[in-house]
């Protein structure tokens, strides 16, 4: 029960890594604030987390003894994010950890100069400005508490480049930079900021995961083909599971990692070791 009586805010909680993190946090004794967009964005060529998926995550968390607050918010909107965080503080009185997980993998699949202004902007708005909005809303709470842990879910695309993913790579590199800068800002106040860089993550039906499918679509190839490419790139003989990422996120969120801040930790099945 590493997060006993703590309150954890998770964005992109409807499915995938976000759901895995939420359920794990509940298992570890935390109460959770689940934030997701609960709807689609025109520039993003795939369906985003839905309200029913978000409610499914909430059910799984409650089953594990957590009290749950569900909030629908588009992380691109500072006002919506602030309202969700305010609701969280009203309900739970404090926020111990933030898992900044919401992000989009597409529009991608084209050369750098081929992105439209709108496509470029949506990528940076969701993947970089979104986490910044969350940090901006949560930090004052944590500053008052003189305690807190922020986990930014970046990507191996925050460490290296990928062809035809300029917007995604740029936003995730930005998120890694944001992590380091924020870590320095808040370290004196006992607030930690770290980034996780998940490598190729398997689409786990248990959490409605679909990122590999999104990447395959963007590149115009099939899921199996994409998975084969991924398997080729990692050192292990299987891809990363959302649960693997959740394990690292929960460790960073809790007190077991008390002196870990400003770090960037790949959870990538050995991808970046090559």
């Amino acid at each position: 029960m590493g997060l006993r009586d703590k309150t954890v805010v998770i964005t992109g909680a409807a499915r995938g890594i976000g759901r895995a993190c939420a359920v794990r946090a509940a298992e570890e004794g935390a109460d959770v604030v689940l934030i997701d967009i609960g709807g689609d964005v025109p520039e993003v060529p795939y369906a985003l987390g839905s309200a029913s998926q978000l409610e499914q995550t909430a059910r799984l968390c409650r089953k594990n003894g957590a009290s749950v607050l569900v909030a629908t918010a588009d992380v691109r909107s500072r006002a919506a994010v602030t309202a969700a965080v305010t609701a969280a503080v009203d309900r739970f009185g404090r926020i111990d950890a933030l898992i900044n997980n919401a992000g989009v993998g597409a529009p991608s699949g084209k050369a750098t100069h081929d992105f439209t202004e709108e496509e470029w902007r949506v990528m940076l708005d969701v993947n970089l400005s979104g986490p910044w909005h969350l940090i901006s809303a949560v930090a004052p709470v944590m500053v008052a508490q003189r305690a807190g842990s922020i986990v930014n879910v970046a990507s191996t695309a925050g460490l290296v480049g990928y062809r035809h993913f300029a917007g995604y790579v740029a936003s995730k590199h930005g998120l890694v930079g944001l992590t380091k800068a924020a870590a320095l800002d808040y370290a004196p106040l006992n607030i930690r900021v770290n980034a996780l860089c998940p490598g190729p993550v398997r689409d786990d039906p248990a959490v409605d995961g679909q990122m590999t499918a999104v990447v395959a679509d963007a590149l115009g190839i099939g899921y199996e083909e994409q998975e084969a490419v991924y398997l080729e790139s990692v050192a292990t003989d299987s891809l990363v599971d959302p649960a693997d990422v959740a394990g690292a996120a929960i460790w960073l969120a809790g007190d077991d990692s008390l002196k870990v801040t400003g770090t960037v930790i790949p959870v990538d099945a050995g991808f970046s070791a090559r």
């Binding site: 009203d90 309900r91 739970f92 709470v141 500053v143 008052a144 508490q145 003189r146 305690a147 006992n190």
Partner: protein, 965 residues
Amino acid sequence: MSVSSEVAAEALAAPHPSGRFFARSEFGSDPARACHSLIRRLPAGTDAAALRDNLAALMERHPALHGTLLFHEALDVDAGDRAAHRHRSRESGRAVNGAPAPARAVLLSYADGAADLVLVAHRRAMDRRALDQLATALTDPAHPVTLPEAAADWSAQHDGPPELAWGLGDPARAGRAGTAVLTSTAVSDGTAPAVALAATALVLARYGATEHAEFALITGGPAAGDTHRSVALPAGEAALAADLLDAAAHAGATGGEAPSGIPAVGVLLTEKRDGDVYRPVLAPPFPVTVAWQYGTDGTDGTDGTDGTLSGVLHYDEGVLDPVIAGQFAGHVARVVDALVQAPAGARVGDIELVDAEEAAAVIAAGRTPAEGDAVIAPVHELFRKVAAGRPDAPALSDPEHTLSYAELDARSDAVAGALRDHGVAPGDRVGVCLDRTAELVISLLGVVKAGAAYVPMDVTYPAERLLHTVSDSGARLVLSSAEDFPAADGVTVVHPSELSRTADGPIADPGGSADDIAYVIYTSGSTGRPKGVAVPHRNVGALLAATTADLGLGPEDTWALFHSSAFDFSVWEIWGALLTGGHLVVVPYFVSRSPEDFHDLLVRHRVTVLSQTPSAFAMLKEVDLRRTADLAVRLVVFGGEPLDVRMLQDWFRGHPHTRCRVVNMYGITETTVHVTSQTVTPQDIGAGSRSVGRALPGWSVSVRDTAGGVQPFGVPGEIYVGGAGVASHYLNQEELTAARFVHDPVTGERVYRSGDLGRLRPDGRLDHLGRIDGQVKVRGFRIELGEIRSVLLEDQNVTAAAVVLGGDADDAAQVRLDAYVVPRYEAVSVAEIRERAARYLPDYMVPATFTLLSELPLTVNGKVDTSGLEPAAEATPAEAAGRPTDDPVLRVWREVLGKDVGPDDDFFVFGGNSLLAVRLSGALRRAGLPPVSLRELYVYPTAAEVSALLAAREATEDPGGHPAT
């Protein structure tokens, strides 16, 4: 969200708060401190919609309730399930985060149809009574709710609390909460609140050594509004227990104002109500919170005649150590029982805090058993054994000679023989007043070999003091090379060169026992005359036995003899080296006063063991930081004055503690140099440790109250020292000896009452907290202010005098002694008084300032009211002062003294002292001026004289001009 971004910005801009109490938790802004909660079982089937409607109606009626939140959690477990319990406990422990939400209501409904209401509110918005009423009104909206008009609100107070002198909290752990159960006991109905408060007050008074225990008190019950005030209860030893209980009974109802700021200790006294689960606070409102709850006889028909009293101690580990918390809780529990059973007429002083078993445990913690068999032999026997084992190894060096062990043995034999020829017999005292050369050490060794005790005197002491020392010690012979050693009747002054002996070969040891006196060192005495401390041989052997193994002392070591033989730190240096086979390098006086020259010496002789006062070390360290030459020092031993470990920060950077060990030792002349030892590491710097460590093997320390009773861990009191280092007696001072060297009824041992204030940590380490009396330390010198005052009062021109420590306590060079004097006649000048005082007092005891007053301010008790003294009158610079100057020497003068002195103003009259003289010397060098030795500064103490000296030197092209030292 109540925390504005401005608050966050301010916090971010603030300097790193580590090491401060509020470092980890912003205590003042933690809403949990100001919240309380209530859990009430609701009628089965209560549904959320009904509650919501009722709440809306209530908010309509009471605008102050506006913003109250209502949540519903439908749990799929039964009310009795563990998971349900966890939800209740979690909900009732969540703070409301201030405005705009005054309260939060959570309806927990269970699978079995049961339901609980959990109410959490900020006390500012709702007191205990209002919380209780709101719980009722949510199911019965007609029920009245009385909201407080101006509720107790301590959460807005952000000031840090005073440090708890007995708490032993670790600033690095600030923000971590701990709890300890105080007691849970049956108390006659109605008296529980009084017993709780009285017990708390009694223990606080004992811990804080006060007659009136003061603390903040918060009360609250379902029947009446909360109160928050400061109370003071009479808990002095002489008070009647009944009076204390009576005062306690009224404390909750009447009393003082709300406290300003957060006091370190607060008491929370609340009434239980059957059925409800009430949490008076969600986080302790004070750094140390004594939370009492007492039961009523109930409204549900239980006809109780006995109430219950239960208490929990909540504390912040930054203020209170968990072990001390447990101890405090145990004492409160014991006192509760004692008060309940106290017979009529019992006095507070009759109630025992520390029982025999606990006292024994505290005593044991402060005692370190001797290791192995202590070597019980006279110093010279120990020396002879070492010398026989390594005759050709270097034993003693000064700038001119190096003596092997065999040579030192022979030379000191010759001195011993010659002393006998002069009629010195075993048991005699022999004065030794020699410059710091090899001759000094040979002579000291010669004296003990003759079976006598040496009485060291510093050559810089004024004549009157030397005379007193000789006559008080009963020495009939003084070894001195000074031409002008003051003559006294019946005392022979012998130059060491006259001690050549015709007969060669070793002399027979005088035999003698380890209980004979080895030396008599004079220390400042409050009566106006220094007092001689007689230390037996066995103590010196025990000191080395206690430290040799731990510090790894041995033949590979080279020691510096840095200190005057009249200061007992030299006992450690001399015998530490010579009894472990090391090499002792004598540091000439003027080298000891120049950190540059001393650093050179350390490098040149590859000194490995360095003993220093923190003041002296601070200057040496500054030199070391500027230099590249490698020191061979592997061990630094601090003694003589309290060490501020922060000074070591940059030292450790250049000299890692793994290569050069740093040991802080607390000691007193009366207990043979050292008593405790604490190895200092970089980790101690952050913690700002005041620990002087554990007792040396064979020594023991304990902390006592004024009656000699054992103080609990953490509680300050007088340090008693027992064991192998306790000196024999004060020479010719039977009364003082009986007062300070006492038989301890607790341990049955002979102990020395140090007059030092300390506290013992549960791990046996001692914290040194200063002096109980008027003794002060100035630049490492132990000074009784009373001694200076007595000397001033002996002046016929003086009718009254006071001496206080002035200047900047944080800077050793700026600490000074300020004298306030009431002259007998108007015509008396400061210069006259100063001059006379300087004849009796060593330089370091002559006040830096003298202020003439027509009378001294007195306290109501008739003592000098030092707080009422005006700022010390500093000497007025001469006319030429204040003018801009082209003279680079004078510019440096002004920079170091921080005053616009003139060219003819005496350095030492204008606040100069030995440390500032060292700074002046360094500043001259840095200003590109030719070197001026310290000796020259003492001889030419004005800027004009030094300028002339430099000009003359330039004219004769004398590049150095150092007089031989």
